[in-house]
């Protein structure tokens, strides 16, 4: 094969610089039957990068449940697809863009959103919602955070939030939810995980499989430049060092306007019936799209790089193949009908060029000005890459004693003051300052935007008639602190909480997507965390009926050798059969009864039965030490996540869905970060988030658990929710709870006078006004973030 004389010769050093190990190099030689040229080496290096090949995670990911009766498309395509009834499907997926967002927060975040949106409309689905799961270092100075760190973290947060807003707002998709968390471990490695949801008609879903020998291959969208070369392989597949800022040129640049045109043009082109297959150019750009389309279709492909629209002159085949310029697509059209496709793109003012065709025999041939620049068998490249069963080392058990755990406050401690502090902590405080920078209402489907319900809820308009029947609910969750303490249990909690949030909006959880953020897979203890996480996810997804339909793995989230907490983020999708029955978190009417639901079977009929005092208190202290309260008030992060009971979670979720269908309750809110007291307070504040004038509602609540006041107020055990109900419907609600074997206990009332009062065993432990609590909760994030 002819190679240009000016081309760099591939040497072991150059292979190593591409992250190719000697073993992998031998495998390349075996596949090609010769040495690769530099372009081919580049292609192998990106396709076999951790980011694209999942070489360290694949053996574990196989353990996840991916099938279900509603699953139309599981992992392996651009996005997962589930049946949502009436001939419609939902496509959804979550992906990380962590490293670019640290190097260049604004562009990193924009292109993260852009990438996931393309994954959705590549499937033929119109994006209808975006959620973002974000993790930053602490934004206020404290125990492990200097003033300088906090300032830097605020700046990163600001850039990421502006980036997400800038892209989604211009593109015209509402950003309806997600979560934001803060831990010192994310200071050098923030997490930006973006989830997109789209809908389509079931028979109009598109796949990325090249088909039909001789069919033309068409390049559409933005021109190819030198930006983002090796974004995926170098940036996303290696840990950070002091020099990482020099990788800024590796970060891609987003153009949401171009993407909006691409969306409309692609959906319109698909309607012509002349599109056979389509694949977006995301990570590894033209390389990944050509190789994967051919590999999936069992065909070959031949393209001519000279025909690729280019933004710069003098680009080498290596650069063109590896560029990660954004807003580009590759599609295969039906031979003889390509003009129909080209006409649509012309109408939208976009470049669309036939760059090659589908061939027989499985070889991907990349030509450049009449010379062969690369010639690689597509299937072995895409599917027979290296697979690693990386060493796993179970860490030595943490030795902790009572001294390491949270000790209950002495009698007389001002729990109201602690509560105000908790409400004002960045993790708990209202995220309105962030979410108001996102367009949450474009497309006029948002039934519950950020903070209105436990999950984001968007209605589904029939594509033809516009009629509305159903709605979809989505929630993303993941508690890195808990996963650090116990990855398996922490992962189960992530699934349980996301599903519980969906159920608390009234929707039935049906499927999940996951974004697995971890440190270096080359560290055996990280692989242990990963393996444990997969087992936890598998168990929880099976128990809760939410198969994983896609997602991504992000390894190498570490800087200078220090890993982040293992942070699986789970997005759960649910269906609400009647869009008018969304459950929201806000209390509504004076006199409504507040009921605590608890799915734990141990509580049913025996709520006050407690284990022997000594065992109970040490188990409680250990569990409580992993809570948000323990971290915020005592600076203690230790112990174990709360024990999880998946059967109890399932009972509670089924019960909440039934209550929504019966239109029986006034409000519902699950108990999670910050515990019961925060849950009740948020239900009091809910009205502000919904943009209405705040009413002077308050609560009077009495608790009498055998635990301490603090754990009763702030404990984060799962499978629980708070509902409010009109007195006349109380009996019916309690009856439904009984049917689902969920313990339901009246704990108080919604009152008129704006006071917030919780008694523990007859003694007022929190006594404040809604106004004081709301001020702490509503404005603290804004105050912190607008500090320069």
């Amino acid at each position: 094969m002819a190679t240009a004389s000016t081309e760099i010769r591939v040497t072991p050093v150059i292979a190593a610089e591409h992250g190719i190990t000697p073993e992998e190099y031998a495998r390349i030689q075996q596949i090609l039957g010769r040495d690769p040229n530099i372009t081919e080496l580049g292609i192998f290096s990106v396709m076999w990068s951790e980011h694209c090949s999942y070489k360290s995670s694949k053996v574990h990911l196989k353990r996840l449940p991916t099938r279900g009766k509603l699953v139309v498309q599981g992992p392996g395509e651009n996005a997962g697809v589930v049946d949502i009834g009436d001939g419609l499907v939902a496509a959804f997926k979550i992906e990380s863009h962590n490293h670019p967002s640290y190097v260049e927060p604004f562009q990193g975040a924009t292109t993260g959103v852009g990438g996931i949106l393309r994954d959705i409309f590549t499937m033929g689905a119109r994006p209808i919602a975006v959620l973002d799961s974000l993790r930053f270092g602490e934004i206020t100075p404290g125990k492990n955070t200097t003033e300088e760190d906090a300032t830097k973290n605020r700046r990163i947060l600001d850039g990421v939030v502006r980036g997400i807003g800038s892209y989604g707002n211009c593109f015209g998709v509402p950003t309806v939810g997600g979560e934001v968390g803060f831990e010192p471990c994310y200071s050098q490695n923030p997490l930006v995980n973006a989830l997109a949801l789209g809908t389509a008609k079931k028979e109009e879903i598109f796949l990325a499989k090249a088909k039909g020998i001789g069919n033309p291959v068409i390049y559409v969208g933005a021109k190819t430049g030198r930006d983002g070369i090796h974004g995926a392989s170098l940036l996303a597949s290696a840990e950070f060092t002091e020099e990482s800022k020099q990788k800024r040129p590796n970060v891609q640049v987003g153009d949401p306007f171009m993407e909006k045109l691409l969306l409309e043009a692609c959906l319109e082109a698909m309607q012509t019936g002349a599109v056979v297959a389509i694949q977006d150019m995301g990570a590894a750009g033209l390389t990944c799209s050509t190789m994967e389309m051919a590999s999936r279709g069992g065909t070959g492909i031949e393209i001519d790089l000279a025909k690729v629209p280019q933004r710069e002159t003098g680009m080498t085949p290596y650069e063109i193949m590896l560029s990660e310029s954004q807003e580009r697509m590759l599609l295969v059209a039906e031979k003889g009908r390509e003009h129909q496709v080209l006409a649509v793109f012309k109408k939208w003012g976009l470049d669309a060029v036939v760059v090659g065709h589908v061939t027989e025999g499985g070889i991907a041939r990349i030509n450049n000005n009449g010379r062969v620049a690369a010639e690689i068998p597509a299937h072995p490249l895409a599917e027979e890459g290296p697979l690693y069963r990386r060493p796993i080392a179970t860490p030595a058990p943490r030795v902790e004693t009572e001294k390491d755990w949270f000790a209950s406050a002495p009698e007389g401690t001002n729990l109201t003051a602690n509560f105000v502090k908790l409400l004002a902590s960045p993790a708990i405080a209202s995220k309105r300052w962030i979410t108001e920078q996102y367009d949450t209402s474009v497309r006029t489907n948002t039934l519950a935007g950020p903070g209105a319900s436990d999950a984001a809820v968007v209605r589904i308009k029939d594509p033809k008639t516009g009629a509305v029947k159903r709605a979809l609910a989505l929630s993303t969750d993941g508690n890195g602190r808990w996963c650090q303490l116990n990855p398996r249990v922490g992962a189960m909690h992530a699934v349980a909480e996301a599903a519980r949030n969906v159920a608390a909006s009234g929707a039935r959880p049906i499927a999940a997507t996951n974004c697995l953020n971890f440190g270096s897979p080359e560290k055996p203890e990280v692989m242990w965390q990963f393996s444990e996480t997969i087992d936890g996810l598998a168990e929880a997804c099976n128990a809760l009926g939410t198969p994983i339909t896609g997602g991504n793995v992000s390894f190498y989230n570490e800087t200078l050798g220090k890993s982040i907490y293992p942070t699986p983020v789970i997005g759960v999708l649910g269906i609400l059969d009647d869009a008018s029955r969304v459950l929201k978190i806000a209390f509504r009417t004076e006199g409504d009864v507040i009921v605590l639901f608890d799915g734990s079977s141990s509580s049913v009929g025996a709520q006050h039965a407690a284990p022997p005092q000594g065992i109970q208190s040490s188990a409680l202290a250990r569990e409580f030490s992993s809570s948000e309260y323990s971290k915020t008030i005592a600076g203690i992060v230790a112990g174990e996540p709360p024990a999880i009971d998946l059967a109890a979670e399932k009972r509670l979720q089924d019960c909440l869905v039934a209550l929504a269908a019966e239109s029986a309750v006034q409000s519902a809110h699950d108990i999670s970060d910050g515990g019961l007291a925060v849950t009740i307070a948020e239900s009091c504040f809910g009205f502000v988030g919904a943009g209405l004038a705040p009413p002077a509602l308050g609560v009077n609540v009495g608790l009498d658990d055998a635990a301490s006041a603090e754990s009763a107020l702030f404990g984060e055990r799962g499978a629980r929710a708070i509902i409010s109900v009109t007195a006349s419907k109380l009996a019916a609600v309690l009856n439904t709870a009984r049917q689902y074997n969920v313990a339901a206990r009246e704990i108080g009332q919604v009152i008129r006078n704006g006071s917030f009062r919780i008694q523990y065993k007859g003694r007022a432990v929190i006594d404040s006004t809604i106004e004081i609590l709301r001020d702490a909760w509503a404005h603290s994030l804004e105050r912190t973030l607008t500090t320069k």
Partner: protein
């Protein structure tokens, strides 16, 4: 009676305006492509929200040169009813069909939230079904909604009663507490002197069903429908 919704490259509230008129109010409506100079015999034209041409230069600055805008200008000059929402308002200002210009929001950030606006004038085809002083709860979603103009223009606007909506508190006071973006004198929407062209930054098409948090935007579209019915009767 027929409404036309213009589609610029980058319009992203075109579907929402179409849905509000076609599905909620059940009136005839069609899309008008930006390269068309034919307004398809529409009786009222809506320039929807979005980021026309990406708005990378200045909001609405490129869209105003679209072929369709020539026809919209002609249509407006002959008394045709034109409503610009958000980016549409920005385009109308750039095109000189409405006075004033938009600056970046005073907080320098994109803001999306429900705000309250007060209906200032009811003798326009966009507000005739509303009560003077009526408070409407309607969402905004923009970075550049800080309306401004020179003193003389401002005096003119007030004198000719062209300010048709002002940002207000829920109770109806037009003080700074109700002003989300720094707009001069809390101006949320204005009309031209002839009162047949209007623009506003809030999105009435997003406030047409209580399930979405408010149906207060309906009164604006109902006003337009009433005006069109009235005009049809007058010529019949």
């Amino acid at each position: 009676m027929k409404f036309g919704v213009v589609v610029f490259p980058g319009s992203n509230c075109d579907h929402d305006a179409f849905y509000a008129i076609g599905n909620v109010l059940k009136k005839p409506v069609e899309f008008i492509w930006h390269q068309s100079e034919d307004l398809a015999n529409c009786d009222a034209v809506i320039l929807p929200g979005g980021f026309s041409y990406g708005d990378y230069l200045r909001t609405g600055a490129i869209a105003r040169f679209s072929p369709v805008m020539k026809s919209v200008e002609k249509f407006a000059k002959t008394g045709g009813m034109v409503l610009g929402i958000c980016n549409g308002f920005q385009i109308l200002c750039e095109a000189g069909l409405l006075p004033g210009a938009m600056m970046r929001n005073s907080g320098l950030r994109f803001i999306c939230r429900h705000v309250h606006i007060r209906v200032e004038q009811t003798d326009t085809p966009f507000t005739n079904a509303a009560q003077k002083g009526q408070i409407l709860k309607i969402p905004i979603a923009h970075s550049d909604g800080n309306y401004n103009c020179d003193e003389a223009t401002l005096a003119d606007l007030e004198k000719n009663r062209q300010v048709i909506f002002r940002y207000a508190t829920p109770a109806g006071s037009d003080d700074s507490a109700g002003n989300p973006n720094g707009a001069v004198r809390n101006i949320a929407g204005v009309c031209n002197r002839e009162r047949n062209v209007a623009g506003l930054m809030p999105h009435p098409e997003r406030a047409v069903e209580s399930a979405l948090g408010s149906a207060d935007g309906l009164v604006i579209f109902r006003s337009m429908i009433e005006a069109l019915v009235g005009a049809a009767k007058a010529t019949a």
